[in-house]
């Protein structure tokens, strides 16, 4: 499937990344999963931004998903979670574009202390809907031919992004951002590793 799930903008501070704006399209998940999936996507996005050096692009594969991340030299970061079939080059071009738009709309002094409520930048949902079809983005990608695909670092799991000694399981169980229900989901998903079985 060619699909975009979530798009978020972070500011990478000294100790942790700060979520500035996010939008997601979770219609393809079953009703009661959506809340959890949303929490996990935000959790994964934040984690990956924190583990990515400034001025670096990464694409991290996790199960059937692909997290594309770009942290700019000025610490503004964009994360796009897509299906693994969504073209990487297009995904990274979109992140560049959305970060440029964001910079034009929101002045840099608001970034370090901003929250979703204080920052007015409401184009993410429209953006997410429009670029579900990567062909829509084609004129964009042509414009930005300078994006060098070889500079995107590919990682095969989230584990590969973590620092030495860090474990995803521990991070999930320690996280305060994830609800109990989400943690239960995580455990079940790990145990069965499939979407169709019942417990």
């Amino acid at each position: 499937m060619v699909k975009l799930f979530a798009l978020s903008i972070f500011h990478k501070g000294a100790s942790e990344a700060r979520l500035l704006k996010t939008a997601s399209d979770l219609q393809s998940f079953s009703f009661f999963q959506r809340g959890t999936v949303n929490e996990f996507m935000t959790f994964a996005s934040k984690t990956i931004v924190e583990r990515t050096q400034p001025a670096l692009r990464q694409s991290v594969k996790q199960d059937a998903y692909m997290c594309h991340v770009y942290v700019r030299a000025d610490n503004l970061a964009g994360v796009l979670i897509a299906d693994h079939e969504y073209p990487h080059r297009v995904a990274h071009t979109l992140i560049t574009k959305i970060l440029d738009d964001f910079t034009a709309k929101v002045s840099a002094d608001q970034w370090p202390n901003g929250t979703e409520a204080t920052i007015s930048f409401d184009v993410l949902p429209a953006f997410l809907a429009r670029y579900q079809n990567p062909v829509e983005a084609d004129p964009l990608t042509k414009m930005q031919n300078d994006l060098d695909e070889t500079k995107i670092i590919l990682k095969n799991t989230i584990e590969a992004v973590l620092e030495r000694g860090e474990k995803l399981d521990d991070m999930v169980s320690k996280s305060e951002k994830l609800s109990l229900q989400s943690k239960a989901f995580y455990k079940t998903a790990k145990k069965t590793n499939s979407c169709c079985s019942f417990t």
Binding site: M1, V2, S28, S30, F31, Q181, C196, F198
Partner: protein, 397 residues
């Protein structure tokens, strides 16, 4: 021990009762799922939000065991006793309550579906409610063959006019969207195509959209090939005059001909001249020729779509295979129509098509000669495929 078992039984009964209450209250349930939750938080595990029903996972196994045991003990009775249960509305309602829960948690038990069929035959369950229930099962298991088969069985009691076919297509599409390579959903859709009214035009539009999104799901590509074959078989074509501002209805075919180096075919007659040079056109109906051009145009647009997708997403088996299938369709239909009534009467007689192609003098057929020339540039593997399936007779590498 005994007490504990009893307590569990009471709890399961209570949960099944709660689920049944939701069924009675909400006529438009859209989905069911099991919510992972490891512990009992001392409140009902049945969650009902905006027409979605959820059951917490900690109790699913116990509830299923209980429902299963009850249903199996019903089946263990003598057939007279079973019949008595089925004949009483109250008893049947109780049975249906257990069936609902058991099948939602585990849709793979044919025996349970069979009991439902018995209840329908005894008029204890309404067909509309049953259609709704099987759709609910598909929301948790989109690949449930039993649920699709049950729907087909239910429709056998209804006249084709009374069936909401677009809704049925929608159910197939949702199931295919949730689970890739969903054989059961796509073959159910083929059944709709065979039994329903003419849905060809909307299906051609829908499948193209689906293919653009699910680029590696070959089930959809295959369905589209069936669809195209069916359109040809039924002599389907859109009304000819599309209005002055529309692009030419045969633009894709024209483009294909140009790509093969055959320029200047602007009108339908020119294209027919190229595709069917040696044919007496008065021998077949004009509708046949119109449909021929229409279907070839769809195939040509599919070939182009596959090439565009390949440029966008890189090499995929699906693009390659579907492009070949479309090419094969065009070549075979050209040969069939030209060879006349004998071949056209047996759409399955591929052997005859091959014999004809082997004997064909390509010099006399500019289109096939051009296809043969251009396709040879696509590599040794493709040439082998052409030799095998189109009898192009390229020399062995």
């Amino acid at each position: 021990m005994e007490e504990e078992r009893n307590e569990k039984k009471v709890l399961c009964e209570k949960i099944i009762q709660d689920i049944n209450a939701v069924f009675l209250k909400d006529q438009d349930l859209a989905s069911f799922e099991i919510i992972p939750k490891e512990t009992n938080c001392n409140k009902s595990p049945v969650v009902h939000v905006e027409h979605n029903l959820g059951l917490e996972s900690w109790c699913a196994q116990h509830v299923y065991d209980h429902a299963h045991r009850t249903l199996i003990s019903h089946r263990r009775q003598s057939s007279q006793q079973q019949l008595r249960t089925l004949q009483q509305q109250q008893q049947s309602d109780i049975l249906a309550k257990y069936l609902n829960v058991a099948l939602l948690i585990n849709p793979d038990v044919t025996t349970f579906w069979h009991i439902r069929r018995q209840l329908v035959q005894k008029n204890r369950l309404s067909i509309n409610k049953e259609l709704q229930f099987s759709a609910l099962v598909l929301s948790i298991k989109p690949k449930s063959n039993e649920a699709f088969a049950y729907r087909r069985w239910l429709y056998s009691f209804q006249s084709a006019d009374a069936i909401d076919w677009p809704n049925e297509i929608g159910i197939c599409e949702r199931a295919a969207d949730r689970c890739a390579s969903n054989y059961h959903a796509w073959s159910h859709r083929q059944w709709i195509l065979q039994s329903g009214p003419c849905l060809l035009q909307s299906e051609l539009l829908r499948t193209e959209k689906f293919m653009r999104k699910h680029i590696s799901d070959y089930s959809c590509y295959h369905y589209r090939q069936v669809l195209l074959g069916r359109a040809y078989e039924l002599c389907f074509a859109l009304p000819t005059d599309p209005g002055p501002n529309c692009p030419s209805p045969l633009a894709s075919l024209q483009q294909l001909l140009t790509n093969y180096g055959l320029r200047g075919a602007d009108r339908a007659e020119d294209m027919l001249d190229l595709l069917l040079p040696g044919m007496d056109r008065s021998a077949v109906s004009s509708q046949r020729l119109r449909s021929f051009l229409y279907c070839c145009n769809v195939a040509a647009s599919d070939m182009r779509l596959c090439e565009e997708q390949k440029a966008m997403y890189g090499q995929r088996d699906c693009f390659e295979l579907h492009r070949r299938a479309a090419l094969k369709f065009i070549v075979e239909q050209c040969v069939r129509l030209e060879a006349g009534g004998l071949l056209a009467a047996h759409p399955a007689a591929t052997e005859d098509v091959h014999r004809h192609l082997r004997q064909l003098d390509f010099e006399t057929h500019p289109f096939l000669a051009a296809v043969r020339r251009e396709e040879s540039a696509l590599g040794a593997k493709h040439r082998r495929w052409c030799n095998l399936h189109l009898s192009f007779g390229y020399p062995a590498d």
